[in-house]
Amino acid sequence: MVESTYCKESKISKVAIIDDKKDDVETEELWIEDAGLEPVYLEGPFKTLHDLITSFSKSGADSAICDHRLGSYYAQFDGAAAAATLFKNKIPAILVTQFLDIDRDTSIRRWRKNIPALFPRDEGNVDTICKAFMDTVKELSGDVSEYRRPQRALIRIQEINSEGGTEVIDALIPQWNPKKAVRFPIDLINNKLYEYIKIGTRFIANVNTGALNSSDLFFSDFELAPAPDNDI
């Protein structure tokens, strides 16, 4: 058993596992036990996120690790939604997935604001999960890292596309990187603003412009940017 400094500092002890695949659950149990923590598996099925919260409360766990793609026989929502909902309920929850490259711009980005830490499954180990829990616990305590601090930012729509059945926007965030487009699901924008969504439209939203990688960006609180007057 490796006692990670991060796990000690995060002060968590019992980790709920939210995952529908037996092999992955076993791996997660090993990571958790190796970190000196106690795993507890949450048996589904979960029709709603409320069901999940109820089950979590009964488990005695103080934290959670969620797989992202959950089979519909196990849950009617994905792991990102689960992790974000737990986080919003002040529970340190982290996300793991083998589909990070595929889902990061859509089903994960949708919830990314409330997922301080996630990692690809092939990078999973004791240190990874303990660091992830540490980062999550810190953010819950109000210590938000420079990479996660939201700022009001201008967003310039470059294209509107579809990815895996989800309508997405490809945009530039000049304050983050004026030369690298970022994709996010259209439903992050309030549907009252949909009529304004077209190429060239500018919005203002909360974005963590200190993020180092585009996969870590999250968006919230969109408003339409006014067109500038001809005064400059």
Binding site: P174, Q175, T209
Partner: protein, 329 residues
């Protein structure tokens, strides 16, 4: 607010420029490049109101961060000064104009489309006089695609604003933006004296357009005669500071203290493995990659003189250990 001392903070923003002048609970920001470090520094310093933001010229590495600053609801900017640049008919210029529109209407920020010598005396702080040494109004009217009165071609860098601060009537800092040869010639022709104790070297120590870098540096050093020269650079970006410029400085001003915000690849091929300990606690772009040299540099002014943080001694210790081929030695 933050401090009753007078300080000039040269932020490590990587390749770009950004400075914060603080005097008697008031502040001025000069240039705002892309990235969160300026806003983070302002928040860490608990600056919720800025008297003036001066934008030297419209390149993204001096202006791009204004978008976020203008949109920030927790930092009130009273006035922004800049010269419009019609050559910048770009998306980011439009983005900036959009942010200006928001700030003007939502936060009552006053936008002034002039940053010229005519403003000298109008943007002073309590203990600090602010001089705009360049451009003159007639040059600003020519614009970045025009010509000076000697028919020399201008560009965005040539009309980059040059700002000097005086503390108790003593010129202590000259911020030169990206000014290059034509700008320097006009500056020298316009003013008898452009001396200053501290020089923020133009264009991050990159090649000055239209001039031999050695001659340009010799001329600049002669006229400014600084004792401290600061380069605001990004490691690995654009080959700055140029080695010939450092050589020219040492020829002309052998006793000047030279310091860069980040560790140039010319000074050390490897980034230090150990944590760099001499840095201030203010945000510095190079910190996350451990490639700071001076990092964010803090100059504090008192009646008895200027103190620099990191101190020249700490800086020397660092470069002795980690940058044996440092260009500034």
């Amino acid at each position: 607010m933050i401090s009753e001392e007078t300080k000039l903070i040269i932020l490590d923003v990587g390749h770009g420029n950004s400075s914060i002048l603080i005097d008697d609970n008031s502040s001025i920001v000069i240039d705002a490049p892309l990235g969160p470090h300026l806003i983070d520094a302002l928040r860490q310093l608990k600056i919720t109101e800025i008297e003036s933001v001066l934008i030297s010229h419209a390149d993204a590495d001096h202006l791009g961060g204004m978008i976020g600053l203008l949109l920030a609801s927790d930092i009130n900017i009273k006035k922004v000064f800049l010269n419009p640049d019609a050559s910048k008919d770009t998306d980011i210029w439009y983005d900036f104009r959009t942010a200006v529109s928001v700030a003007r209407k939502k936060y009552n920020t006053s936008i002034h489309t002039e940053l010229t010598t005519g403003l000298t005396g109008n943007i002073d702080l309590n203990n600090v006089r602010v001089q705009v040494l360049w451009p003159t109004p007639e040059i600003a009217l020519a614009g970045a695609k025009g010509f000076d009165l000697n028919n020399r071609p201008l560009n965005s860098n040539a009309i980059s604003a040059v700002i000097r601060f005086l503390y108790n009537e003593r010129p202590f800092a000259l911020l030169t933006g990206d000014v290059e040869y034509v700008g320097l010639q006009n500056l020298i022709e316009e003013h008898e004296n452009i001396e200053s104790e501290i020089l923020i070297f133009p264009h991050h120590g990159g090649l000055p357009r239209g001039a031999d870098p050695t001659k340009f540096t010799h001329e600049l050093c002669s006229y400014v005669n600084p004792s401290i020269i600061i380069f605001s650079i990004g490691r690995g970006k654009h080959n700055t500071p140029r080695q010939e410029i450092l050589k020219a400085i040492k020829e002309k001003l052998p006793k000047a203290h030279i310091i860069c915000t980040q560790l140039s690849e010319h000074c050390a091929t490897e980034i230090p493995v150990d944590e760099i300990e001499h840095l201030s606690n203010l945000p510095a772009k190079g910190r996350s990659l451990n490639c700071c040299c001076g990092g964010t540099i803090i100059l504090t002014f008192t009646e008895s003189g200027i103190s620099v943080s990191p101190s020249p001694e700490k800086h020397l210790e660092f470069i002795t250990d980690y940058a044996p081929s440092a260009l500034c030695k």
